[in-house]
Symmetry: C2
Subunit: 325 residues, 2 copies
C-alpha cells in the first residue's frame, strides 16, 4: 500500500516540495525560486522538476500529491483562477496538469486553508475538530475546520474571514483585512506622521515614509512609542472583532493565529483578547476556548499540503489522519 505523500508549496517567491511518510513526517525537502515573472510555462516546469526530485524511487509508493497555492483557486476542480502574485496564471487546471505528469491523484488548496489543515494535523490545533485559523501578514487569510472537515463552500471560496465587511463611520465600508493587515498598520502610521504626529517611527525609517511597514511599527511599539502602541491596539481590536464574529459563526474549540503581524506580541494580543471578552455574546463561547499562536513554522504549507493529500483534498474527516499516526 502506498504510504508516502508528496507535498508542494507554490509561493510567489519560492517553490518548495517535500516527501512525507504516512505519519506526515517530512523525509526530504527541496526548494527553488519561483521566478513567477518568467510566466506560466517555466514556473510550471520548475514545479514539476521539484516535485520529481522528492518522488520515491518507486512511484507506486506515493499515494498522492497535495499542493498549496495562492488563491483564488477552486479546490474542487484544482483550477488556479488568478493569483495576484503569479502573473500569467489564469484558470490554470493545475491538478489535471500535475496528475497527467505523475499519474497520481492531485489535490490543490489555497495557502490559508492548507495552513489550517496543517495546524489541525500536526500543529497548535492537533486533536481539535472545530478550528479557526487566521494568518495576519500582508493580507489576512483564514481557514476553518467544521466538525473535522475543511470548510470550502460551493466553489472553494469560503472561510475568508479577512474579507468580512465592517462599517467604519456611518457610511464607509471597510474589511478586517483593510483595517488590520500589515499594510493597513503601515498606512495609518504614515497618515499620522503626515498629519504631524511625533513618533520614533520616523527615525527608524530615516525619514523615508515609504519604508514604514508593520515590522517597523512593531519595533517602535516594543520600544514604547505611543503612536505605534495605538496602531497595534487598533489592529488588535479589529482582529478581536473578527474573532468574535468567528466565535459566533463557527463556535470553535480553538483559534490559531499566525503570520508576521502576530510577532508583535502582547501589544497586539492584549487589546485583541480584551475585545473578544467585551463583545462576545455569551460566556459559553469562551468555555474551554483556546486562542493560540501557530505552532508550525516555515514548513506549515508543506505539512498542510501533505495533509491535503492524505485527506483527499480536505474532504475526508481529519480524524482519518489520527488513524495514520
Amino acid at each position: 500500500m502506498a504510504t508516502t505523500y508528496i507535498a508542494a508549496d507554490l509561493g510567489g517567491t519560492q517553490i518548495r516540495t517535500g516527501r512525507f511518510d504516512h505519519n506526515l513526517n517530512l523525509l526530504q525537502r527541496e526548494n527553488t525560486l519561483t521566478r513567477a515573472n518568467d510566466g506560466l510555462a517555466p514556473t510550471l516546469e520548475r514545479l514539476m522538476t521539484y516535485i520529481d526530485k522528492v518522488m520515491p524511487s518507486d512511484r507506486r509508493d506515493a499515494a498522492g500529491i497535495g499542493i498549496s497555492s495562492p488563491g483564488p483557486l477552486n479546490p474542487k476542480t484544482g483550477v488556479i483562477i488568478a493569483p495576484p502574485n503569479l502573473p500569467g496564471w489564469h484558470d490554470v487546471p493545475l491538478a489535471d496538469i500535475i496528475s497527467a505528469e505523475f499519474g497520481l491523484p492531485v489535490f490543490v488548496g489555497n495557502d490559508a486553508n492548507v495552513a489550517a489543515l496543517a495546524e489541525a494535523s500536526k500543529g497548535a490545533a492537533q486533536g481539535h475538530r472545530h478550528v479557526v485559523y487566521i494568518t495576519i501578514s500582508t493580507g489576512i487569510g483564514s481557514g476553518v475546520i467544521c466538525d473535522g472537515r475543511l470548510l470550502t463552500g460551493r466553489g472553494g471560496l469560503a472561510a475568508e474571514l479577512g474579507h468580512m465587511p465592517i462599517l467604519v463611520g456611518d457610511e464607509c465600508v471597510s474589511s478586517v483585512e483593510l483595517e488590520a493587515a500589515g499594510p493597513a498598520i503601515a498606512r495609518r502610521a504614515r497618515q499620522a506622521i503626515a498629519a504631524g504626529r511625533q513618533t520614533t517611527i520616523t527615525e527608524l525609517v530615516g525619514g523615508e515614509l515609504a519604508h514604514v511597514d508593520a515590522q517597523v511599527v512593531g519595533a517602535a511599539a516594543a520600544a514604547g512609542d505611543a503612536l505605534a502602541i495605538e496602531l497595534l491596539a487598533y489592529a488588535g481590536r479589529i482582529i478581536g472583532l473578527a474573532i468574535v464574529a468567528a466565535l459566533h459563526l463557527f463556535n470553535p474549540e480553538i483559534v490559531v493565529l499566525g503570520g508576521g503581524v502576530t510577532k508583535t506580541g502582547a501589544l497586539l494580543f492584549d487589546p485583541m483578547r480584551a475585545t473578544v471578552k467585551q463583545h462576545v455574546l455569551d460566556e459559553s463561547y469562551l468555555d474551554g476556548l483556546r486562542i493560540e499562536s501557530a505552532a508550525l513554522g516555515g514548513d506549515v504549507a508543506l505539512v498542510g499540503a501533505a495533509a491535503l493529500a492524505a485527506t483527499d483534498g480536505g474532504n475526508m474527516d481529519i480524524s482519518a489522519l489520527d488513524k495514520l499516526f
Copy 2:
C-alpha cells in the same frame, strides 16, 4: 422499519406537534398555548401531552422525535440553556426527559437551525448542499448548511450571523441584529420622530410612538413615506453586508431569507442586493448564487424538527433525506 417522525415546535407562544411520514409529509398536527409563565414543569407536561397526541398507535412505528426550541441550547446534549422567552428554563436536559418518557431518540435544535434544515429539505433550498438561512424579525437568527451538514460548532452555538459585530462610527461596536432587526428599525423611526422629522409614521400610530414597529414602518414606506423608505434602506444595507460576510465565509449556493421584516419586500431587498453587488470581493461568489425568500410558512419549525429527527440531529448528510423521498 420505523418510518414515522414526530416533530415538536416549542415556542414562546405556542407548542405545536406533528407526525410526519418517511417523505416528511405532515400527517397530523396539534397545537396549544405554551403559557410559558406557568413555569417549567407545566410547560414540559403540556409538551409531552401534545407529543403523545401525534404518536402513532404503535409507538414502534416512530423512528425518533425532533424538537425545535428557542436557544441558547446545546444540540449535542439536548440541554436547553436559558431561552429569554421560556422563563424558569435553565439547563433543562430536554432530550433526555422526552426520550425517557417516550423511549425514542430525541434531537433538539434551535429554531433558526431547524428552519434552515426545513428549507434545505422541503423548501426554497431543496437540493442544495451549501445553504445560508437568515430570518429577520424581532431578532436575526440564522442557520448554515455546509456541504450537506448543519453547522453547529463545538457546543451548538455556531451560525449566529445576527451577532456578527460591526463597527458603527470609529468606536461604537454594534451588531447586525442591533442595527437591522425589527426593533432596530422601530428605534430609528422613534429617534427620527423625536428629533422632529416629519413622517406619516406618526399618524399611522396616532401619535403613540410606543406603537411604532417594523410593520408600521413597512406600511409607511409602501405608501411612499421618505423616512420609512430610508429606514428600510439602511436595514437592507446592513443585511446586505451580513450576506456579503456570509458569502465570503460560507460560499453558499443559496441564501434564504425569512421572517416578518422581509415582508417589506423590494424597499428592503433592493438596497440589500445593491450592497451585495457593491461589496462582494469577487464576481465568482455570485456565479449561480440565488437569494430567495423562504418557501415554508407556519409549518417551517415542524418540518425542520422532523428533518432533524430524520438526520440524527443534523449530523447526517442531508442527502440522506433525498434518499427518503
